[in-house]
Symmetry: C2
Subunit: 437 residues, 2 copies
């Protein structure tokens, strides 16, 4: 599964040399190296720069992969995805709450079977890599087996994955429910076994407020206090009926976000999926707690949830990562997700440049997941996860690329027209883990 280590990669590199404060000057931070060299050791970047400068330090037998016609970018980061929904992508005709009952819950029931969980974990991780996604924040099912299967599949490739078993003790089919006690015990067991083991990280994962009792949300908060470096991931303000339901279930809370805040579930490692219909106070709450938004373009369109207001997020200075939200989302491809994000922005007369998009998918995603000290660009010392994009993956892409006069235009076309084929090679931990057939 893991190819032998290489010493480096030569080609055209595009990344961001530094963080973009307040989401303003993306162009100033972009770094393009036309003929570059990336040197790797034990899964980390040990040198990055021009080939002309770096070539002299290569040993005679150095093993270098060369990609003269492609574009090498940091691995894509998917900030919100459901591993046990890969098989129900494109389920017809409903909006969020009916879709959960009709499609998501029945699919998730199967993951109590560890053999099925293992099979689908392999499938899921392979799909991530096929699409150039090297890090993801992943929802499993309520069954601890599903999380174990996913962590094992990621561990075999030494992928940096954030994941957690879902907490859900009401408003779902009986065989998908745990209890506050089971939620606590299973989560603790998984945290002890996987969190910070190699590159694995654990996220306390209440599905969303309507499927957890106050007691269970309290347990989630307790876990966050007991392990201060845990992640928390859930859903927030995706659909208007959902918001209405939360108000009915938690009449004492002043907003949907306030439910999570009350139970201690906001913070710099708390990732909230969707955030489409936020009230002013919720924007402020996200900023005040340094919480993070996972923007899920294909899902928001497919489920008809609404149009995410990225301009507002920029203004409020809230971190935003991009996400596929498979299986409410319709594709594992971050490129496709960025393309749909662009369309969502266009419908709102907001700008969304290819450079900002790439940032969001790489270093910006790393910041959203508080991983930017470890990955997200080609800085020396960082973990060596990167993808090779092929501007001639299809006949049409080749024609379009041929007409491109700038790297930014080329990147935009790859994003709008791209899919899994655009990713010709994916590297994780310095090793080639996917090669397009």
């Amino acid at each position: 599964m893991r190819n032998s280590a290489i010493d480096g990669v030569r080609g055209r590199f595009l990344d961001f040399s530094e963080s973009v404060e307040k989401r303003s000057d993306f162009d100033g931070a972009v770094r393009y190296v036309e003929d570059g060299l990336l040197l790797l050791k034990e899964g980390h970047i040990v040198w990055f720069g021009d080939w002309s400068e770096g070539r002299d330090q290569l040993l005679e037998d150095a093993h270098i992969h060369e990609y003269p016609d492609q574009l090498i970018v940091p691995g894509f980061i998917d900030c919100h995805i459901h591993f046990p929904q890969a098989e129900i992508i494109a389920a017809y005709g409903e909006q969020l709450l009916e879709w959960l009952n009709n499609y998501a819950f029945p699919a998730e029931k199967q993951y109590g079977d560890i053999a099925y969980s293992r099979e689908m974990a392999e499938f899921f991780v392979a799909e991530l890599l096929r699409n150039g996604t090297t890090t993801a924040a992943v929802f499993c099912t309520v069954h601890h087996q599903s999380a174990e299967a996913l962590f094992a599949a990621a561990q075999r490739r030494n992928m940096r994955i954030i994941a957690g078993k879902v907490l859900m003790d009401r408003n779902a089919p009986p065989d998908l429910l745990d209890t506050p006690e089971i939620a606590y015990d299973d989560s603790r067991m998984l945290i002890e076994k996987y969190h910070n083991q190699g590159r694995l990280l654990y996220a306390v994962t209440p599905r969303f407020a309507p499927t957890s009792t106050p007691d269970q949300l309290a347990v989630a908060g307790q876990l966050m206090r007991e392990y201060p470096d845990l992640y928390m991931q859930t859903h927030l303000s995706e659909n208007k009926e959902e918001i209405q339901w939360v108000q009915e279930l938690f009449p004492d809370r002043k907003s949907y976000l306030d439910v999570y805040e009350y139970f201690g579930l906001t913070g710099p490692r708390s990732i909230f999926g969707h955030c489409i219909h936020l009230e002013d106070g919720e924007w402020k709450g996200l900023y005040d707690t340094d919480s993070v938004i996972a923007f899920c373009p294909t899902s928001n369109l497919f489920l008809g949830s609404g149009l995410f207001d990225l301009e507002r997020a920029r203004k409020e200075n809230v971190r935003v990562g991009v996400a596929t939200d498979v299986g409410g989302g319709t594709s594992f491809s971050i490129l496709t997700s960025l393309s749909e994000a662009y369309k969502i922005m266009q419908l709102q007369k907001q700008k969304f440049s290819a450079i900002e998009a790439l940032y969001m998918a790489t270093l910006g995603g790393a910041e959203a997941l508080s991983l930017d000290h470890l990955l997200g660009n080609f800085e020396v010392g960082k973990e060596a996860d990167f993808v090779v994009l092929d501007p001639a993956a299809t006949v049409l892409q080749a024609k379009r690329s041929e007409k491109s006069e700038t790297i930014v235009d080329l990147l935009f076309a790859l994003m709008i027209m791209g899919d899994d084929r655009t990713v010709s090679h994916t590297y994780v931990d310095g090793r080639l883990v996917h090669k397009r057939e």
Copy 2:
């Protein structure tokens, strides 16, 4: 280019046995033949039914293509596409009017060169076929050469194509302008040379009201009167600034549609692209004149034009075909267009079933183009254009298809996740003209 003729095709067939009046009962008209046989002769369908019934009439040396695992549907119909914009798909950052000036017009200038037009016509037709599109209504450039090149490329494959040179005598760069006289003479020349030659059909093609003087629109109307079986294609109500501009340019006309109506350009073979921001009177005008709408989902999102109101079109009983609108659209794929159409409907809380989508792409598209007496389903006597869809085109599609329990669910997944790879074979005029690599 054209393979030798075959006698028939065996496989799973899905089409519509009859027209769906008033866009209501699509399910009642759908026809699924699980093990079917389609017999062909000289480009036409001579028999269609169950394999078990048809096999006896086969000669011993009959040449039959078999597709046991695929799904065979009528060829897709694209009701609005620009041949000279294939190379500018995915041009960044603007809405309609700026996009035209910055990208479309510069690209179209190149088509005055007949060699370039010929090269791109071959490219364009190959892309149509790669995506399963067997009939399209196509805008060329202002240069008659572009139309000649396209007609020639279509004629070599005996494709049924509707096309016309663009009429444009103001508000565009000088080298893309004709005059009312040139518009008349060139159009007449092209009509005489190509209209009704084999399967080719001509469309009088004023780009849109802002780029034609009243004199030129009058010439367009004159051509429509002189050749009563011509088509007319243009744009209508795509973008709010555009509508405002039309009001300024034609202050005496009571609406955008009224400009076209005044010059005799509405009618049953008049195809209006977009129609997003129609007023009540324009809906009535489209119905009264039996005019047609080309719905362009990927373009409407990419250019941020707005959300087409399909429910209203159903209610007003106006014919609607689906269209890619390349290069404002982002894909040649009708499947992708239907997927984006679904998302547009979801955002408006409107239903759009896979069956209605397939209807719109096949028999409904044929009706929109007044070609349903010639093509659009597997009725005996019709022209033999059809495509073979592969439910296992990608690893993910294969997994999803495996979980499908109904043909409708399978079709929906193909539409939401599909792209050019989903089309494994395309037949035109009874011949295999595209086979996926």
